[in-house]
Symmetry: C2
Subunit: 149 residues, 2 copies
């Protein structure tokens, strides 16, 4: 299987497959005489595993941890659960953070006429005239979301 076929079969782009190899997330693949990488079912399975972990918001580092646990037949499920619950907590923290932003913005937007007049409480708030909603920096978040908007 060439890298293109492995990409199709796993849903991971060829670029990313090479990158994962480069950073040591997957083992360097064997090559054919023409220097093409060769993949088998097992590699595709691993790539799909990684892709699913990414879809669930795990970072590549966490995916690597989970991958090692997956391949460790004697692992304890507690170790896996720990990674998962830590990730849940992280997600929930970020959700709460964004909900706080939404709440503030909705309030400001509600107070804003949204018409042809220049008067705008949203800008007033950003400028720091009043209650200063944008003053409290929300808890920062590690960025580990897929980005391809």
């Amino acid at each position: 299987m060439n890298i293109g076929e492995a990409s199709n079969a796993s849903g991971v782009s060829a670029k990313m497959i090479r990158y994962y190899e480069e950073i040591g997330l997957i083992r360097p693949m064997g090559r054919t005489g023409n220097n093409y990488r060769v993949y088998g079912e097992e590699e595709v399975h691993i790539l799909r595993f990684i892709k699913r972990a990414r879809n669930l918001g795990f970072s590549l580092e966490e995916a690597e941890t989970l991958l090692k646990l997956w391949q460790d037949k004697s692992r304890e499920s507690a170790a896996v659960k720990e990674v998962a619950t830590a990730h849940i907590a992280d997600l929930e923290r970020r959700i709460a953070e964004m909900q706080g932003m939404v709440k503030t913005l909705k309030h400001l937007a509600h107070c804003c006429g949204g018409d042809t007049r220049p008067n705008c409480p949203i800008l007033d708030d950003l400028a720091g005239d009043g209650s200063a909603a944008g003053d409290k920096p929300v808890a920062p978040a590690k960025n580990r979301m897929k980005q391809n908007a």
Copy 2:
């Protein structure tokens, strides 16, 4: 006012102030004879404006838009409201996305013994054995969150 004082007064790091200048978000500042940047109250006000917009999850690009609207005395508040509501929608989409992840992960964690045995439904799911919860890539999100975990 030197850049350090402007930084203290605005809460924006000196590094970032120079960066904002570099990307054209703020005007290049005048210099003293020793080549130090000089800031006044207005610049500090602008920096605080940007910081608040960032705290509300706006990207620097959106902050620039809002900044221009802020400085445009004849703007229509509808234009501002539009930026804000688009941002709210974006935040809500990402919140829903992460809530989906949390839901899936909680279910998997709930089913996982979390003990010393190797059996683990979380890994089973990632490996694609069953219902394939991690299969559906959640809607991707532009990354515009503060990151400094």
